[in-house]
């Protein structure tokens, strides 16, 4: 090696050291120091997309709710539909025809008028299979919509003419339903049904055929119609939203800017909240709940979600309903909730969680729960005695021991704790040997979908406050069934409820279906979820509700108490 080469090499090395340093300088220089927004909140993992039609998660829904607005808006406390883009609406007596009157002052964030045509375009896009919208089926309650979704591209135009959507003028939208859908009005405030801006979307698709999606929703380019608009976005970091001056009700929007943080680690969220850098976090570390519960700013409220176990009814001996019932009866739900979960989760003997207005929620048969410790112990003892009798009736006993069972759960401390309690209960009460098997999320879903399990940890979050959102998961042809259980009577009851106009009779039909499910027990109900929000004490317009949905439109800072 010559001296000249060496000198050159030395330069290269010096450069190699400089590169990371330069990167540091650069990153700091282009940090684009955003001053803190007026309100900062944690939104879990980075959202999949801002396109309201194609997302399904709660984090995505929260972002969509800030950026867009549907025909109606949810009341922050009661969740009742309030006027949104539609200033009023009429429902025909048969419950099949909805006429929405759109407000003339509704505009997009670029100032263009928002018309009924925008809804026709957006809802058609939602229904088209190419959009790949997970919630497209929610709009299948509209006449002809399902057939349109299932049609081949060449017959699409013809099918569209049969869909019960029409815009007689720029500010009127008429929706004809195939069946009276009690929760249709609630759906109009659900993010898949939000309007999207046609021109900017189609322009992006034309100019960037390969990456139109990232171009369309880019900060500064995304055109939305909600109370806020997007001004900056950094992947895995934050979305910066500012008040949308073109929003029709801008006078009612108190906050000037929002930072929506992508925070994956729950402990970090808590640290940021305690340090005052974040004003709202929607989950806290499970181990700290007993301590946090004492804080006045900790809100734990019933949440429209259930925790249960799916049972693989295709696998003996779990194909025997007596065995499933024995398993369901021997669980000490009260101790599970009070000692392990500790957030005030309600023990549950139903698939649907409590809090559904007007719904006569059935429970699986069990001894009535007493108020005090002694009554509880007596009820549990009675249930467990019945469980042992059921198992004996199914033919298991000292002569024929019960084969070992396996609980499948996705990797998580809480799920392991719950599984261990259940395993202990079943071992002590029924003498069943239970093994635990955890899998990472995607493998777990694969096992569940292909019925490669005995018992599997499950949960379901309601999309709208109606029992249907829980019960429809267990029809024979639902992809979410994943138990192998099918019942013609169950499917028939749900279909009948779908056709029923009278609200009380409809809910009674749904209750009958749930009672049947709880008789057959393809699922073992365990407990209902609670939301766990830590919210800045001065944040007004933020209310606990069963959907844990918090429309930012209503948020404001309260005056400091004097």
């Amino acid at each position: 090696m010559t001296a000249a080469w060496r000198a050159r090499l030395r330069n290269v090395l010096a450069l190699a050291l400089l590169v990371p340093l330069a990167a540091l300088a650069l990153a700091l220089a282009r940090r684009a120091r955003l001053p803190r927004a007026e309100l900062v909140y944690s939104n879990g993992s980075e959202v999949t997309t801002l396109d309201p039609a194609t997302v399904s998660g709660q984090s995505e829904g929260r972002v969509a709710m800030a950026l867009f607005e549907g025909l109606t808006v949810k009341h922050p406390e009661t969740l009742a539909p309030l006027p949104g883009v539609a200033e009023r609406w009429e429902v025909a007596p048969d419950g099949l025809t909805y006429t929405f009157h759109l407000r003339a002052e509704a505009r997009w964030s670029n100032g263009e008028h928002l018309t009924a045509e925008d809804f026709l375009y957006s809802w058609r896009r939602l229904l088209e299979p190419e959009t790949a919208a997970p919630f497209a089926y929610q709009l299948w309650c509209v006449r002809g919509a399902e057939a349109f979704s299932r049609s081949a591209p060449e017959e699409r135009e013809a099918r569209w003419r049969d869909v019960g959507l029409a815009a007689p003028d720029a500010h009127t939208l008429v929706v004809e339903l195939a069946r009276p859908t009690a929760y249709f009005l609630a759906l109009t405030s659900f993010h898949p049904l939000f309007p999207v801006h046609r021109r900017s979307l189609e322009e992006a698709q034309r100019s960037f055929p390969r990456r139109w999606q990232s171009e369309w929703v880019r900060a500064g380019r995304l055109i939305s119609n909600g109370p806020f608009k997007l001004v900056e976005r950094r992947v895995n970091d934050r979305l910066r939203l500012v008040r949308n001056p073109e929003y029709w009700d801008v006078g009612a929007v108190a906050l000037r800017s929002l930072d929506i943080l992508a925070l994956e680690h729950i402990g970090t969220g808590l640290n940021l909240y305690l340090a005052g850098e974040v004003d709202w976090i929607d989950r806290v570390p499970a181990t700290l709940v007993p301590e946090l519960r004492r804080r006045p700013d900790f809100q734990a409220a019933p949440y429209l979600a259930s925790y249960f176990y799916r049972v693989n009814v295709t696998r003996p001996p779990l194909d025997d309903v007596r065995v499933r019932r024995a398993l369901a009866l021997s669980v000490d739900r009260r101790t599970l909730c009070a000692a392990i979960l500790q957030k005030g989760e309600p023990p549950s003997w139903s698939l649907t969680p409590p809090g559904l207005a007007g719904y006569p929620r059935p429970e699986m048969r069990h001894a009535p729960v007493g108020a005090d410790e002694a009554a509880h112990a007596a009820a549990l003892a009675a249930d467990r005695a019945e469980a042992r009798a059921l198992l004996a009736a199914a033919g298991y006993g000292p002569a024929r021991p019960f084969p070992p069972l396996e609980i499948l759960f996705n990797t998580s401390e809480t799920h392991r704790d719950v599984a261990e309690v259940l395993a202990a209960d079943w071992s002590a009460t029924l003498g069943i040997e239970v093994k635990l098997l955890n899998q990472e999320w995607k493998s777990f879903l694969d096992s569940q979908t292909n019925l490669r399990y005995d018992l599997s940890r499950s949960s379901w979050i309601g999309d709208y406050p109606d029992p249907n959102t829980f019960l429809e998961a267990f029809t024979a042809d639902s992809e979410n069934n994943r138990t192998g259980w099918r019942s013609e009577r169950y499917d028939g009851l749900l279909a009948a409820a779908g056709r029923e106009v009278d609200a009380a009779r409809r809910l009674a039909l749904l209750a009958e279906a749930e009672a049947l499910l709880l008789e057959e027990l393809p699922i073992l109900p365990l407990f209902g979820y609670v939301s766990q929000n830590l919210v800045h004490p001065r944040l007004g317009g933020f209310h606990a509700n069963v959907l844990d949905e918090h429309p930012p439109k209503f948020w404001h800072w309260k005056e400091r108490a004097r």
Binding site: M1, L21, R33, T49, E130, Y137, R218, L272, L274, L445
Partner: protein, 329 residues
């Protein structure tokens, strides 16, 4: 030297091709798909997504599409039956594709946003590592056998043994909630970088201290150092001019892969301090079955490790002329 670099470049292409091909096949062999979720998609919706991302194609065709440079889709190159509206695509056309999980971003955009963050954090961590590791290693070697040596070695062992989330937790407790000097997490100011870079750099500092101490002790007993001392050179000059340079060889060798690791971030540190770096994507892209993103971060890591190892081999001959480049190559 030119020959050395050329040969390295050649092997680089072979390595890269192997990494791409093996990862491509392995990733798709794992159970579970990118679009499964608690709330199962309607079969038609899932089919539509699979079509959009060409997951309905046979594997060989997906592979050719990924590598490029021809686009095999209906809008692709005329040579492979497309209509020619977008003929080129894939790796060879410098297109890493869209992310399946973060659908508003291409893999290129995600890397462009997160790599500088990780690199900046890593650079600072590297500075910590060198600033803490070298002096304490030298000090321990010079004062070997004393209590100071023992203390420094104990600290180094602790630095290696303590998991970074424990160190992070302790530091947050002291500097955020105790003293209130630093923000608990986030990214934007230099203040945001101090704790995470320290946590990230600590184990590296500990390794560097150990390697420096061991290297120095070995060199200090060699003839040329004794000669230098015998000439009457003051001890600090012996150390700096003669011994240190030769003793740094193991440190430099270690720094190559360490730098690649440190610059590409750390899942744990990024999570705890909410830093939007690339480290998170190494684990999450695999968990999410986000094939293009997983591929993208794998490629970045391959390139970095390869480039830094080449640099280290070149640096070794600088520090110790007895090591020929050819052999190092």
């Amino acid at each position: 030297m030119t020959l050395f670099l050329l040969r390295r470049a050649g092997w680089f292409l072979v390595t890269l091709w192997l990494v791409v091909s093996v990862s491509f096949v392995l990733m798709r062999a794992v159970r579970g798909g990118p679009f499964s979720s608690e709330r199962a998609l309607h079969p038609a919706v899932e089919q539509s997504l699979r079509e959009r991302y060409h997951l309905d194609w046979p594997l060989w065709k997906q592979y050719l599409q990924y590598v490029g440079p021809l686009d095999w889709s209906a809008q692709g190159h005329r040579l492979v039956g497309g209509d020619g509206t977008r003929p080129w695509g894939g790796l060879l056309a410098l297109d890493l594709g869209p992310s399946f999980k973060y659908r508003d971003f291409t893999v290129g955009e995600i890397l462009a946003q997160s790599l500088p963050v990780s690199a900046a954090l890593g650079a600072l961590a590297l500075l910590w590592a060198l600033a803490l590791g070298l002096p304490s290693g030298i000090l321990a070697a010079v004062r070997r056998g004393t209590r100071l040596d023992l203390a420094l070695r104990l600290a180094a062992t602790l630095g290696i043994a303590l998991p970074n989330f424990v160190v992070a937790g302790l530091l947050v407790l002291v500097f955020v909630f105790g003293l209130g000097w630093l923000p608990p997490a986030g990214w934007g100011d230099l203040a945001h970088f101090l704790l995470p870079s320290f946590v990230l750099g600590l184990p590296f500092a500990a390794y560097i201290a150990r390697l420096t101490r061991a290297g120095l002790l070995e060199v200090l007993n060699q003839d040329f150092v004794r000669t230098a001392r015998a000439k009457g050179l003051p001890p600090h000059l012996v150390l700096v001019r003669h011994a240190l340079r030769a003793s740094l060889l193991p440190v430099v060798t270690y720094l190559g892969p360490a730098t690649a690791g440190i610059l590409t971030g750390s899942l744990v540190v990024e999570k705890i301090f909410a830093i939007p770096g690339v480290g998170t994507h190494f684990v999450n892209s695999a968990l999410n079955r986000d094939y293009p993103l997983a591929m993208g971060v794998t490629l970045v890591y391959t390139v970095l490790v390869y480039a830094l190892n080449t640099l280290v081999d070149a640096a070794a001959t600088l520090l110790d002329p007895r090591i020929p480049l050819e052999e190092a190559g």
